[in-house]
């Protein structure tokens, strides 16, 4: 009897491993092998000029040296971060406000479900379609310029795509529009997890709703806020489709809207796996560090 039971335990363990196989194999094939081959490729000179293949020749850390020395990496990382910050600040403010309103039972907002759906909708549009729409709206002879001119605000059409800050603002604004709904829902989930007894106690003690928000909601929401910020930062580092379509892949004006991934994409014209690989590895390291920070924070919550 005893022996039989032990046998059963062993066989359950075996099933555990068997059920893990699909994930592990998919991970190995679609994640790990590409990752390893990217790292491997980054040590080679390997590109195509026209239809002529050059390389692969082993060059050691030459590719890393190139991308660091020519300074492009820093410039494009800056562009990416600036546009991310410009989008993230309004995003987090609006999301906090909306989440606080939605999760506040005393407000008794009508049509909550409707509005929750509506604010999430921009996220469902394909980013490239969204960028195309803005490209047409804000073109030199587009509807926005003609409205502004007819209202007498402008005499000349304003060249949105030819000015550094207007172009960056457009990119940031689009990212904000696309993501604030998503953030709102995340923050709302966090706020609903806060014990309502705390708010009631504060109310009894005579705290205003502003005080309750800053002294109760924000501190208790911290882990979720950090999570939202880091995931948004990782997503922001990979910003690509919106500026790519909006600027027709040029990153104009003067490449001030060129993000890291757009730069990576530039190397695909010549199938430059070496430089592209090196760039990807650098980004992988940055992202890994950020992910580790999230991991640390989310684990802290448990304590």
């Amino acid at each position: 009897m005893k022996a039989a039971r032990r046998g059963k335990v062993v066989s359950y363990n075996k099933w555990g491993y068997i059920f893990l196989i699909p994930f592990v194999s998919v991970y190995l094939i679609f994640q790990f092998i590409p990752l390893a081959s990217t790292i491997y490729n980054s040590f080679f000179e390997n590109y195509r000029s026209g239809l002529t293949q050059i390389g692969p020749n082993f060059v050691g850390f030459e590719n890393y040296k190139t991308i660091v020395v020519n300074g492009d990496l820093i410039t494009y990382a800056q562009n990416t971060l600036i546009m991310w910050v410009m989008g993230f600040i309004p995003q987090i403010i609006v999301s906090l406000l909306l989440a606080a309103w939605f999760s506040n039972p005393s407000l008794r907002l009508k049509g909550q479900r409707f509005f929750k759906t509506v604010i999430y909708l921009p996220n469902l549009i394909m980013a490239s379609a969204f960028a195309m729409l803005f490209f047409t709206l804000f073109a030199d002879g587009g509807p926005v310029n003609s409205i502004l001119m007819q209202m007498g605000i402008l005499d000349q059409p304003y060249k949105f795509m030819s000015n550094v800050w207007s172009a960056r603002t457009l990119v940031a604004f689009m990212n904000f529009l696309m993501w604030f709904g998503n953030t709102t829902i995340l923050l709302m989930a966090g706020m609903m997890g806060i014990d309502t007894a705390l708010f009631e106690a504060a109310e009894v003690d005579g705290a205003t709703s502003t005080q309750a928000f800053f002294k109760i909601t924000i501190p208790l929401l911290r882990p979720i806020l950090v999570y939202v910020m880091i995931t948004s930062l990782i997503g922001g580092l990979q910003m690509f489709d919106v500026p790519q379509i909006l600027t027709n892949a040029t990153g104009d004006p003067m490449r001030s809207t060129m993000t890291l991934i757009m730069y990576l994409n530039k190397h695909l014209y010549s199938k430059n796996y070496g430089l592209g690989g090196a760039l990807s590895v650098v980004m992988f390291i940055v992202t890994a560090i950020l992910s580790m920070i999230v991991y640390k924070f989310t684990n802290k919550k448990v304590d």
């Binding site: 026209g50 239809l51 014209y269």
Partner: protein, 475 residues
């Protein structure tokens, strides 16, 4: 029992997903040896070794039943549909048609962001391993990057198809120069010639100069200095002389005396720097814009409200691009006229190339002969599509024919002007890097024109962008 059934189902589901994963993996891993094989081929450069023999052995009867044509828009398709004898379009599927019992498959990938060439490159590199019906049979190239394909083994010499020099005797020499590889072998043919002209709005000319006669208007744009002066006059009347600085780019860049790349170093010709100088002056004076070609803003001038005086373009431009089909456009009302402009130039042109390894050699031969050597068909194209065809006697005949006139050009016969222009074309300064250089130069200079950087900054940006595209170049 139920539990067992459930677990059995779970296991089935799991194995199914596992196998699905494997399927994907197989594709991925099999792609690797594929690319390795391609590289080897490229080194050996011999994917066509057995192909010519195959072609000779294959009679028309036992040739492939699928003709794959790779192109970037429907221009060639429309030409074939309207003028090639025996072509029937498939009413239900726009990407297919038939010639006799051969199915024609149109593989149209737009040019944007180099998508056409990327697609063509990948498919050509896999050509040797592809199934017979998947191999590319015909692909089209443009002058800007013709050499990239022509100077490789992936393109078949037209002589191997059985087309002789005598067949091509009436074609303009420059159309052959572009598709002749470094060993002097001709590898493509074209049905069109693309000498350019300046198309101006008759109404605007009457309003500003008091005449719309091409000979008179030519005096106002005879060279770049008078062109610039005229730009100021037009501005006072509310017109832009050209829609965008990019309109005149080709006119300058076709009159260069050196190549974009000399000995692996990027080289900017003096005439191109003159474009920068002249264009900056025009933009600063508010006499034109920096719109990208083909953008909505740029094409507003096809309509009278756009207030654009002229566009530079070749023959296909008026028919294919100037919204002549649209009600209310200048072209629809026959409101354009053509004149030589400050300098002669050409723009584009489409060449038909046969891909090495094709199994439809005799059909390709017939298409090439019918579309590019048959005088009757070529005359039809001129009349129906306002195109300038690649046939000297036909064009010279029609240039002298008072019965021929272009509706879009308000009854003008522009062919004489094209005929004169085509003789002067000098294409000795083409290189395989032209497309990337031309695009990046215009992109970079837009920043200078818009005042976002100085000239040196824009040049640096240009060099940087070109080296990204062609890492083997230096500056």
């Amino acid at each position: 029992m139920k539990k067992k059934l459930l677990s059995a189902m779970l296991i089935t589901a799991m194995t199914a997903s596992l196998l699905a994963g494997c399927g994907g993996a197989k594709d991925e891993t099999s792609a690797d040896p594929g690319t390795a094989a391609q590289e080897q081929q490229q080194d050996a450069a011999a994917p066509e070794e057995e192909a010519p023999a195959q072609v000779e052995a294959a009679g028309a009867a036992d040739e492939g039943k699928v003709l794959n044509i790779y192109c970037w828009n429907d221009e060639f398709k429309r030409r074939i549909q309207d003028h090639y004898p025996g072509y029937t379009a498939d009413a239900s599927d726009a990407t297919k048609g038939t010639i006799g019992d051969v199915t024609v498959v149109w593989n149209i990938t737009p040019n944007d962001d180099n998508a056409y060439q990327n697609n063509l490159d990948e498919t050509l590199l896999k050509q040797a391993d592809a199934a017979v019906d998947d191999k590319i049979d015909i692909f089209l190239v443009e002058a800007d990057y013709a050499l990239k394909y022509v100077d490789t083994e992936f393109t078949m010499p037209v002589a191997d198809l059985g087309i002789t020099d005598a067949d091509l005797a009436n074609q303009y020499q420059y159309t052959k120069d572009i598709v002749t590889d470094s060993n002097g072998v001709l590898k493509g043919v074209s049905w069109q010639g693309c000498p350019g002209a300046m198309f101006y709005s008759r109404e605007a000319a009457k309003e500003v100069f008091g005449t719309d006669d091409p000979a008179e208007v030519q005096k106002y744009v005879a060279d770049w200095d008078t062109f610039t002066e005229t730009a100021a006059t037009l501005k006072d009347a509310g017109y832009s002389i050209i829609s965008s600085v990019n309109d005149s780019y080709r006119v300058y860049s076709n009159n260069v005396t050196s190549k974009w790349v000399e000995d692996g170093k990027i080289n900017i010709d003096d005439n191109i720097m003159k474009w920068v100088e002249d264009s900056k002056a025009l933009v600063d004076a508010g006499e034109t814009s920096t719109y990208e070609l083909w953008s909505d803003d740029w094409s507003k001038g096809f309509y009278p409200e756009g207030k654009v005086f002229s566009y530079f373009g070749p023959a296909w431009f008026i028919n294919f691009s100037m919204a002549a089909d649209a009600e209310g456009s200048i072209g629809n009302a026959g409101g354009w006229a053509a004149t030589e402009g400050p300098q002669g130039f050409f723009w584009g042109g489409t060449w038909i190339c046969a891909a090495t390894g094709t199994d439809n050699a005799s059909l390709i031969k017939d298409i090439m002969l019918q579309m590019t050597c048959n005088e009757e068909i070529m005359k039809e194209i001129v009349v129906a599509d306002d195109d300038f065809v690649n046939n000297k006697p036909a064009m010279e005949g029609m240039a002298a024919d008072p019965g021929y006139s272009s509706k879009i050009l308000g009854g003008q016969n522009p062919l004489g002007m094209y005929c004169a222009g085509v003789e002067g074309l000098d294409l000795s300064n083409l290189s395989i890097y032209d497309q990337g250089c031309n695009e990046e130069f215009q992109n970079a200079m837009k920043n200078y024109f818009d005042g976002n950087t100085d000239l040196d900054g824009a040049l640096d940006l240009f060099y940087k962008a070109v080296v990204e595209k062609y890492p083997d170049l230096t500056y």
